[in-house]
Symmetry: none
Subunit: 226 residues, 4 copies
Amino acid sequence: MTGQREVLVAQDVRRSSERAKRLPRAVREKQILDAAVEVFSQHGYHMASMDVISEVAGVSKPMIYSYLGAKEELFGHCIRRESNRLFEAVRDGIRPDVPPDMQLWHGLRSFYGFVAEYRQSWIVLHRHALAAGDPFAKEVTALRTRAIELVRDLVVSAGTQRGLASQAEFSGEGMAAALVGAAESLADWWLDNPHVPEGVLASWLMNLTWLGFNDLVEGSVWRPLE
Amino acid sequence: MTGQREVLVAQDVRRSSERAKRLPRAVREKQILDAAVEVFSQHGYHMASMDVISEVAGVSKPMIYSYLGAKEELFGHCIRRESNRLFEAVRDGIRPDVPPDMQLWHGLRSFYGFVAEYRQSWIVLHRHALAAGDPFAKEVTALRTRAIELVRDLVVSAGTQRGLASQAEFSGEGMAAALVGAAESLADWWLDNPHVPEGVLASWLMNLTWLGFNDLVEGSVWRPLE
Amino acid sequence: MTGQREVLVAQDVRRSSERAKRLPRAVREKQILDAAVEVFSQHGYHMASMDVISEVAGVSKPMIYSYLGAKEELFGHCIRRESNRLFEAVRDGIRPDVPPDMQLWHGLRSFYGFVAEYRQSWIVLHRHALAAGDPFAKEVTALRTRAIELVRDLVVSAGTQRGLASQAEFSGEGMAAALVGAAESLADWWLDNPHVPEGVLASWLMNLTWLGFNDLVEGSVWRPLE
Amino acid sequence: MTGQREVLVAQDVRRSSERAKRLPRAVREKQILDAAVEVFSQHGYHMASMDVISEVAGVSKPMIYSYLGAKEELFGHCIRRESNRLFEAVRDGIRPDVPPDMQLWHGLRSFYGFVAEYRQSWIVLHRHALAAGDPFAKEVTALRTRAIELVRDLVVSAGTQRGLASQAEFSGEGMAAALVGAAESLADWWLDNPHVPEGVLASWLMNLTWLGFNDLVEGSVWRPLE
DNA sequence: GATGAATGAGGGTTCATTCAT
DNA sequence: GATGAATGAACCCTCATTCAT
């Protein structure tokens, strides 16, 4: 949990009732965003109070307002930063020069890697931003859309390569949405069942969505070959 | 949306600032719960105000407190009622005397049928209760667990019948969680893409999780046979 | 605690969700007043709720309003009933044909006897009515005034019999007030120190106010002779 | 009533719905406590509303909560401040190098001096805190206990000096409690009979409890000699 | 740049009280 | 006579936000 450690460091630097040292704006903004993500992830949007955020950030409330705007705007900043982090982590984890199933495999591993490293970011995005209503839910929906497109292109290209006839039962987008949703929900489930190592999660998903229950019960198993 | 219609009727009956007619307690409780679900689904737990709920219910605030308790408790009542409704709808939709894939198929259809009919209930359960923190998230998690168990038993029994060796890549619970999550997320996606008919959603999921992408790109398709 | 027992009896008579039997008005009023005194003594005027009183009385709220009026009026009824009870107990305990000190002695014993038997009444009068503000404090002040007059007449007549010159240092009323106050406060102290037998309290007061510390430290002691 | 005058000044300085000038926290806390004591003394704990207190203090409600806590805590602060004021006033008024009766005399004079100067404080302590129930009543009881101990030590030491045999009729603590109670009640009586000068009250008590009615009717009188 | 001081506004909750049956 | 059903009104409290230093 890198975010949390950095916040604590920021706090430690500062002795109580000591005026905060002048710091470059970028540093202050990072402190504040880190603190905000931490607090939002713990309490959700509505129960997170600006007072607490400012305490955790080691910065006075007026600074938050002056640097990052009101609560809504601050929350938006958090969501955007973490959205991008997450998307980039997944996108950069995919290697374009391997078969589609391996691409999917790498994408999933990167995703669960991110969730493990930035647990709080994931909680904010998945648990709280969606519930916080429209300005924010849209942001997360957009992220999800980007992910869905990534997967859709992958599957569709694999399909068209092999002449998959478009059928009512098949919809690149719909099924990509289903896969992305499954990945998200499994991440959620992981929060409450952390004993499972991260590679296994990706493996389950590959077996389920690449092979399907049918092949599985026949004894087939998907494994990454490289 | 049966609930909403009835609530509006209740409102229409009553002219503003007129004393509500005396009705038996059970009727009032239903009115209140219906109104609460409606308002919670629209605004979420924190932004829903007891004032608005009481107005929508056509009842004064003290009645709510007297019949269903404070806000937290009221929300709990909503969640429990809708949880049970949903679970029973799915469970009753499953016919036990058909092959596993058909059971899954019926379960999914019932699920999306419920989401279509009780849109607000679904929103409260999926979007808001999970974000509202621990007393409530647990309730929904419990619901999800019940669903996962249902699916797990289905798949595992199918697998063991055919001698599926337990492997690291396979976990009845984990994969059932993934499927349930996929179904949930697809329902969520459906809220923003309502043009897709409900049967198609179930079809996608069956194809994805029963056959897998691999079979799909080979041209295989799953269809319900009865 | 006679009052409490009677209330419990009244409650026991009534099975839940059974309509209260028709009873003569006087009986109902007694039930209500007993319950009110009990609840007021426990919670004070403001924290006592009409709901609780009606439950303890085994009677619905509208009955209370119809028989004994609103909360203020109800409290007034309580205070008046208990005031009179107390005053009559003390007055009737005094035997007019004995010397002044013995009259005082009997009065004090009657007073502490009452406090022991009607603990709740005393608490309502002394602890709560005085704090409840003017309509009620006056009532208790009036009671106190009657007590002071009783004592004053006693002492003054004793004094004038023996030619006590009126002096600045002496005021029948003031000193009677002091004695009455001492008696009250000792009763209050008794509530928290119930191990002392009631006769001893009266004895302390007699020794203190009849003989004074001065005589006491000289070894004199007052004892009732009859 | 120093407190009240200052509060009014604070109010006058501020025109309605104008932002209060920035003042150091300690000053505001004093203003708030003064106002709270004033309002509590007039209306009692339950009928005093935070709105009124904030108006009288010339400060908005959130400041009260931020500086002195919620209503209960605020009341506690008032009681503690006034308790200490009162106890210190009495203790500091006693001169340790004079005979016991003179010490008592000075203590009583200080007490009535305090009641005269801080009428509201006395009312809060004696009339309202005791009735407000357990967190607060305990505080006042503790104050009373400290006073009783003061008096007990005085009398007992005087008694043992002259060989007072411990007897059933004599209890240092009990009689001290009676004297303290008498003093309190006389202060209470004084509130409704303010024409009596303060020295006279102390004089009555000295004559009553030092000499006793018996000596008094014989014509003896106690007077301070110095 | 940085902050302690200050507040408007609004929400949850609970009574005492009364109607209609 | 007796009561469940119903509500107006008020109170405590908190929070996001801004001003003045």
